[in-house]
Amino acid sequence: MGRFLLVRVFSGLLTVIGASIVAFFFMRMLPGDPARLIAGEYASEAAIEIQRAQLGLDDPFWQQYLTYIGDFVRGDWGFSHSRGQPVLDQFVAALPATLEIAFFAVALAFTAAVIGAAVTGWSRGGVLDGAVRASSYIGLGTAPFWLGLLVLIVFFERLQVLPGPEGRLSPGTAPPPRVTGFYLLDSLVAGQWSTWWDSLQHLILPGCTLALVIYAWLVRMMRSGVLEFVREPFALVARSKGRGRWGVVVRDVMPNALLPAVTAGGLITAELLTSTVLVETVFNWPGIGRLVTDAILQQDFAVVQAFIMVSACITVTVTVLTDLLYGVIDPRIRVRAT
């Protein structure tokens, strides 16, 4: 196990390094002079020169890369000229918002997907299975930003039952005292019911939008797992033991079908990161996604670059972790590896 872990972590590291080179390469190709942008339109040539030197723009590519990576590892992710703040600080500030919506969405999506997959295993080609399949197709086929807009039109613009794209709380509502950074939890801790209700209302539309995409992926994966495993002899054996159809699906088939879904962690994370950027933008959710789209508009590429790097790191980490986790929870691998 130790060795396996080491090898996996090492190859993950290698991937991250490769990814960072790719990201760095593209981000350094961009047109325009970042030094001028940072110094400002009317800055003197001298000031621009100083900027250039500070940014190391005159160094050879490899040196620039090494400098960047060195800084990155040390927590210096560059300076965001559009907000006059170190990039890392911005990420830290925006992180709770993103995590809150991501957790919400993943929890929702996972629950729905498990139910959907179980229903599929039970209905197998029936109407309910068809509904599950259709829902997954819809989730996979909708652009999250469009879906976000759609639900805004319906629930905010037309029905006026849920708040519009105004972030995590109604404007003017003070955020609860910070404990976790999740308003939904913090307001509970502080006993601020109206804030809790407000934050929940704000979470619903973006959360569900995000959840649908994740759900679609998960249910698709689990569904095919379930359909594969209900045909396995052990499912038949379970029935021959006297267990009912539903019982077989829930007790015997689902554990098998859920396992491979774990390995999709990397994929789901990638999807989550992507969709977060888009959904946060539509809903003005003050998280990392919004930060990044703003930065794109402002050409603040330190932020974008950091985000791309971080998302690669996260995806790879999650992939490695899920691989390891799979080894831990799948008895077939666990026992062999230890």
Binding site: R3, F4, R336, A337
Partner: protein
Amino acid sequence: MTADRLPDAAPDVVAPLLDVRGLTKVFEARRARRAEPVVAVDQVSFQVERGETFGLIGESGSGKTTAIRCLLRLVEPTSGAVTFGGDDVLALSGPELRTLRARMQVLFQDPYSSLDSRMSVRDIVAEPLTAHRRMSRQQRRHAAEEMLRLVGIDPVFGGRRAHTFSGGQRQRIALARALILNPELVVLDEPVSALDVSVQAQIINMLREMQARLSLTYVVVLHDLAVARYFCDRVAVMRRGRVVETGPAIEVIDNPQHPYTQELLAAVPGRHGGEEETVHAPG
């Protein structure tokens, strides 16, 4: 080929077609997992005379398949010597090896996965020709159809894909492919164990007929002792990579010397076996 490489060869008899000496194959343990190296084939030696049917028998995992894959050079043996018709098989490479393969064909156990399900059976049968013979399309097609007829498949079905045929038919097609280059030796890896008993008999009959007609030499892997006794001239019994007993099939099976062979035999159920095995009276 020099004699000093085969010190055991008796100088007065004709050299056997296939001579396997001390064949050993060790599968190295995979790095990431802590596993012992597997000695799949351990110092296996046997000789096969021209025209005979030589059987390798033994339980699952005893190394039968690995042994024949080694002598076909489908895996590289760890050590040992294989001489085929005077050529040192293990020393050949590239084009020579390919020429050798034309003389030494193989029929695998699973007729379902050893044929490319995407190709028409005519193309499958003609495939060795594309590799070894310079022939026109027409000639190849003709030869393939001839061969199909020989193994009992109506050539009008030549255009059909392999997966539309039953297991027995597929095994015939595979045999046609193996025979189209007029090989001297055909290696059969459990040619009938995936088939139904009735089909099994058909295939065995056909194999024997082909052998007679084309004067083939067979090396055949089997696990059914009755079939081995019926089909083989001589057999080698393998256990855990080693040959434990060799001899004429009838002798080995009717009168096994090695305890392992006896054990194998005891496991065979039979309507012809001793009456003492009959268990109980119906309730």
